[in-house]
Structures are given as structure tokens and as C-alpha cells.
Amino acid sequence: MSSKTAKSSKADKGDPEEMWDLRLYTAGQTPKSMAAIKNLKRICEQHLPGRYNIEVIDLMANPRLAKDDQIVAIPTLVRKLPDPLRRIVGDLSDEARTLVGLQLRRHQESESA
């Protein structure tokens, strides 16, 4: 974990223009899904302006992807890039935890510490 963190923080530092590839899995137009999409967009605009890409996948339309991408909980946010792959479960309403999960907050924390 520590080495991974070090690597990713280095990557964040070294390449601030790195593109973030995010994928959000939902199942139908449920309130949880809608909330997740809304929250994700807000967080990205705030922390990753201009360098993020969000793909929303509705498993009701593409059930096969649930198996292929190992999705159990809904909504699930997967950070495909930058490495390593991260999964965040929930409607992203807890912004602090979302940032930690996406390793956006950890970077700042390690700087302040």
C-alpha cells in the first residue's frame, strides 16, 4: 500500500496534466444513481478541472459488463486511470471519503503532514 501511495502521489505531482479516466456503474435511473452522477461531476469539476473523463454505464442496458468488470454494488465508481485501479462504492455523497478513495485527498494530507 505505502509503495503504491508513494508511486501515485509521485505521479500526481509529476504530471498534473494527467487524464483521469473514470467509469461509473449504475443500474437504471435510481435516485442513488442520479445522486452519484451529480456528486461525481461536482467533485471532478472541483478537483480535476479539464482533465477527467466520465463514462456512465447502465448495467440494466449492459448486464454483461457487471460480470466482466466485477461489479457487485451499485453505484460503483472505478478509477481506470491513473493506475492503480480504484473502486469506490456508494452514491459519493460523502465527499471526504470519495476524495480519499480517489486518492485526491491522501496526496494533500501527506503534504500537510
Partner: protein
């Protein structure tokens, strides 16, 4: 739970989905509740996954019910490898669209929870898998892994509840496996949500030997066997051994088969054992139990029937050599394939495995006679109670197949003769007891038939001789001095013979005396008769003489009278009439 959705409860008997697992359907009266979830719980390594997998494979191959396996712990590839040892070709079934396997990977370190969520992803996957193969059966193994992946147990619990509800609505027969928890059936208490049928698997190790057991804890709406049933996992899958729930309905053959020892057959009403009966030979060490068993095996093979000999003490070669020394050559039968000797140490496997081996061998070899030599050693592979239960099942199994079973039991000295250490005597039809008779500084073997159901058997003790030409039974000497055997019997017999000769000689002497006396008497009689004859002759002569004399006297008298008449003729007539009648 909601009873409105279970019309079966009100109406006819609960519909059941057969598992195809040998023995389980007998215990549960037909299988698992159809269209409902069943919880299989147990500690690690007790066979939950295999149980679930066999349920699916049997369903797909034997009952035309495709299935879905949701694996939380192993990948499809690993599962396929694991169940191949049970003889299941999972890859083939997957390729033929009979079974779908979905590996649900949950790695806590990869997951962060950021708010409200549900397990819709799992539902989607399950639904897709069910639709893909048209599944009627579903296995979730082990769903509790979810609790390791997510920290919000409140959501998990409500989602699991929803999942089980959903499975019921789907109408699939489901197995949910769960790890056994402290004081509870499962760690997370999911037995609360699965209330229709709960089966507990157990894997206990006692004295370094493991025994798997199964118990139906709960089965709503049906009767079921409540015992703990041992089960085993071998290359044919799981088999539960529910013999105690079987009825006593073996066919009883009236056919008799010889024991291989003619003296023993004679003791058993002349014809030997009943086919399909169970025979126990018990005795202390060195009383010839194995020899007797070998005779039986020999006789069986000589009839052209197959015999399975389970040897727990001797190797096949040793057995063959030893038996050759007493004139029983079993080698040809081994070569011909009529005799199979399965030698193994009793402690090699647990009891269930031994039983399973017998099952397998019987299925493969189809013997008419099975000999277990000795059963007393099996105690080392389990407790006394377990051994008894195992033997009961074995006897039942063999009887059910019409196989004559001979069990050899070594009795430890000191105890009662009429007792087996394992307490199987009541299950036995014919019980032959071999015992030492210590007498006159010798140790000899005695044999008697303690019981033999359904036949008139001898109540005599026979002396049991092991000669280079096989076993011979001799009548023992029973007299005022008690039972005599061995050289004392021989001596007694010699003494009796001598006495017999003496008696005969005495009689002959008497006979001779009698003849002589008769001869003497007869001679005497002859002499007397001769004497008498002589006397008679003499008497006759004297009578004749006296008669002659009388005549002479008469004539003399007449002449004198005549003379007188001539002298005095006038007075004479009276005297003449007087003399006339002469």
C-alpha cells in the same frame, strides 16, 4: 416469512428438488425444498462448496435442471479443478450451457464506501446467469464473503434479505453456503433469512481421524431424519450414509452355501450358511479365525463366485502363503480374478472411507461374499460407537445386495466369550465362536455355533484341528472328567478303546464258558439218557421175565388144578370158573 407466497404449505406436500447426492434425498424425503433457498453451513473445509457443486452438476446432468454457481471464493477455473477430483467435468457443462459460473471478486482494499449503495450489481449478474442457462438451481458460495468486502452491514443485511426474496420469486432452488460462527450456524446469522431448510456439515477430527457428518437442522414443512449422518467425499462425489433410516426389508434367501469345512456345515444343519446372511467368527488370538475365513473364501471361489477379502492385518502374499501351509491354496483364485484381497491398515482412513471403499469395491467387483478380517481392528479408526454404526451400515449394505458377509472379530482375552468388543453380535445371523481350551498343559482349539438364525444347529463343542490338509472338526470328549481335547482326548480315546477291547474279550470269554458248559451239560444229558435207556432196557427185561415167570406160575397152577380135578372131579367146577378169567 410470507406464507401467502407458499401455497404448497396449505395444500399438498412440499415440492422437493432431488439433489442426486447419494443418501441425502432419503434423509430429506426427496431433496431440498423446490423454489426456496437452503442454507448449508459448516466450518472451513467441511465440503460446503462441493455440496453445492454436486447439487448443480447432478441437477444439470440427471434432472435436466441447469444451474448457476456464484462463487465468491474461487474462480471458475479453480472450481473446475477442484470438482474434477469428484468426477465432474465442469468445463464441459459450462460449454454445453448447462451450468454458469460467475466468480464474484471482492477485495476490500480496492473498495471505498462513500455513501448509500445496494447490491444491484450482484442481482444483475445473477439474473443474467440464470437467464443465460435457464437455471432452476442456484448456489451462492459463500455469500458471507460480502461482509468482508463491505463495512456497512446494515445495507448488506437488507440486501441479502432482498436477495433471498428475489430468489424465491425467481422460483429457483438455491443453496446458500455459510461459514459456521461462534455459537451460531453462520458468522453473520444469515440463517435468520433462510428459514426453510438448514443443513449443517461438520468435519470432526477425533484421535487424528476425521469424520464428516451432516445434519438437517431444520426443514420447514416436512419430516426429515434428525440424526447426524456421516458422509464422505470421494471420486464419486458426496455420499451420505443414512442406513439407520432404512427399513429392515432385505430379501431373505433360503439358499445355503457351504462354509468350506464339512464338519461345520454338519453343525449348521448340514448345509452351511444362508446366502446373504451375516456371519461372525469371533475368538481370541490364534484360534484359527483367519483360517476358517480362508476356507470360506476358498469354497466360494471353488463354486465360481467372486469373493472380496478385506484384510486389515495381513498382506495378500502373506495370507496366501499362510493359507497354503494349511492346505488352502488361494493363489489360483487370485490369478483367476475370483478372489480379491484388499489389504490396508485400518488407521489408513477414517471409518467412513473404509465403508466407502467397500461400497466402491462391491460396485466394481460384484462379489457374492465379502470377508472382513478383522473388524475389531477398525476400532483403531474410530470410536467404538462409530465402529458399531459403521458396521451396522456395512452389514445393512451387504445384506441389501444379497451378499454373504463374514466378519472376523478378535476378542481380547479376559472378557466374556459371548461378547464382541464392538457390540455387533445382535446384527449377526450366524455366530461361530472359536476358543482355546487349555487342558493338561496344552492349548487346543474349540469351535461352537453360538447362534444361527433360522436353522437347526448343533449345540456341541467341536475340537477344531488345523492340519496341513485344512481344518477338521473332531468331536470332543465330554465325560465325567469334563471336556477333553488334544492329547488328553486322544489318551482318553485310547483308554476307552482299551476298555472296550477288554470288555469284548470278557464277553467272548463268557461266551466260550457258556458254550463249554452247554457242551458239558449236553454230555451229561446224553450220559443220563444212556443210563436211563439202560435202566429201561433192564426194566423191560425184568418185566418180561416176571411176566414169563407169572405165566409159568399160572400154567403151573393150571396144571396143578388139573391134577387136583382129576383126583376129585365132583367138587372141581367152582375152582375151574374161578381160574377162567386169567
Amino acid at each position: 416469512m410470507d406464507r401467502a407466497s407458499h401455497p404448497q404449505l396449505k395444500g399438498a406436500a412440499l415440492e422437493k428438488a432431488p439433489t442426486g447426492i447419494a443418501g441425502l434425498d432419503e434423509i430429506t424425503g426427496g431433496g431440498l425444498p423446490r423454489g426456496r433457498p437452503t442454507l448449508i453451513c459448516g466450518s472451513a473445509g467441511c465440503g460446503k462448496t462441493l455440496f453445492g457443486m454436486e447439487f448443480l452438476v447432478r441437477g444439470a446432468t440427471e434432472f435436466g435442471e441447469p444451474g448457476v454457481f456464484i462463487a465468491f471464493e474461487e474462480t471458475a477455473h479453480e472450481l473446475g479443478q477442484n470438482v474434477r477430483s469428484l468426477g465432474f467435468d465442469l468445463e464441459k457443462l459450462i460449454a454445453k450451457n448447462k451450468i454458469a459460473v460467475d466468480y464474484v471478486h471482492i477485495e476490500r482494499s480496492e473498495i471505498a464506501e462513500t455513501g448509500d449503495f445496494d447490491l444491484e450489481g450482484l442481482f444483475v449478474r445473477l439474473n443474467m446467469a440464470i437467464d443465460a442457462v435457464g437455471a432452476k438451481r442456484v448456489v451462492l458460495d459463500t455469500i458471507e464473503t460480502l461482509f468482508g468486502g463491505f463495512s456497512n452491514t446494515l445495507i448488506l443485511r437488507s440486501e441479502l434479505k432482498r436477495l433471498f426474496r428475489w430468489l424465491k420469486d425467481k422460483g429457483v432452488t438455491a443453496i446458500i453456503t455459510g461459514e459456521r460462527g461462534d455459537g451460531r450456524l453462520t458468522r453473520q446469522g444469515i440463517e435468520e433469512y433462510v428459514s426453510d431448510c438448514v443443513i449443517l456439515l461438520d468435519h470432526r477430527v477425533t484421535e487424528q481421524l476425521s469424520t464428516r457428518r451432516l445434519r438437517v437442522v431444520k426443514y420447514r414443512g416436512t419430516t426429515h431424519g434428525t440424526n447426524e449422518y456421516p458422509f464422505l467425499i470421494d471420486e464419486n462425489g458426496i455420499s451420505v450414509l443414512p442406513v439407520t433410516s432404512l427399513a429392515l426389508n432385505h430379501p431373505a434367501s433360503a439358499e445355503r452355501i457351504p462354509s468350506g469345512v464339512s464338519g461345520l456345515d454338519a453343525m449348521l444343519g448340514g448345509d452351511g450358511f444362508y446366502r446373504g446372511s451375516s456371519i461372525l467368527i469371533s475368538g481370541t488370538a490364534g484360534t484359527g479365525k483367519t483360517s476358517l475365513a480362508a476356507h470360506f473364501a476358498h469354497a466360494t471361489c471353488a463354486r465360481g463366485e467372486r469373493c472380496l477379502y478385506l484384510a486389515f492385518e495381513e498382506s495378500p502374499a502373506q495370507l496366501a502363503r499362510n493359507m497354503r501351509s494349511i492346505g488352502v491354496d488361494i493363489e489360483p483364485w487370485l490369478k483367476k480374478g475370483l478372489l480379491r484381497i484388499e489389504a490396508s491398515r485400518p488407521s489408513l482412513h477414517g471409518l467412513e472411507m473404509h465403508l466407502a471403499r467397500v461400497h466402491k469395491q462391491v460396485a466394481e467387483f460384484d462379489p457374492k461374499v465379502v470377508i472382513v478380517d478383522p473388524i475389531s481392528n477398525l476400532v483403531t479408526a474410530g470410536s467404538e460407537l462409530d465402529t458399531q454404526a459403521m458396521l451396522l451400515r456395512l452389514i445393512d449394505f451387504l445384506k441389501g445386495h444379497g451378499i454373504t458377509a463374514m466378519f472376523v472379530n478378535l476378542t481380547s482375552g479376559g472378557g466374556s466369550w459371548e461378547k464382541t468388543d464392538i457390540g455387533v453380535s445382535s446384527l449377526i445371523d450366524t455366530w461361530i465362536l472359536l476358543r482355546d481350551i487349555e487342558l493338561g498343559g496344552e492349548r487346543n482349539r474349540g469351535l461352537y455355533v453360538l447362534k444361527s438364525r433360522g436353522m437347526k444347529h448343533s449345540n456341541q463343542i467341536r475340537e477344531f484341528l488345523i492340519t496341513s490338509k485344512g481344518i477338521q472338526l473332531e468331536e470332543v470328549y465330554i465325560g465325567p472328567e469334563g471336556v477333553l481335547t488334544g492329547s488328553m482326548r486322544a489318551a482318553q480315546e485310547a483308554r476307552e478303546k482299551a476298555a472296550d477291547i477288554e470288555r469284548r474279550q470278557h464277553a467272548e470269554r463268557k461266551q466260550r464258558e457258556l458254550t463249554m458248559r452247554r457242551a458239558a451239560l449236553e454230555a451229561q444229558i446224553k450220559a443220563l439218557q444212556a443210563e436211563f435207556a439202560a435202566a429201561e432196557d433192564e426194566a423191560k427185561v425184568s418185566l418180561a421175565e416176571s411176566a414169563a415167570r407169572e405165566q409159568t406160575i399160572e400154567s403151573e397152577r393150571e396144571r396143578a388144578a388139573e391134577r387136583r380135578a382129576s383126583t376129585a372131579r365132583t367138587t372141581a367146577p367152582r375152582q375151574t370158573t374161578k381160574g377162567k378169567p386169567k
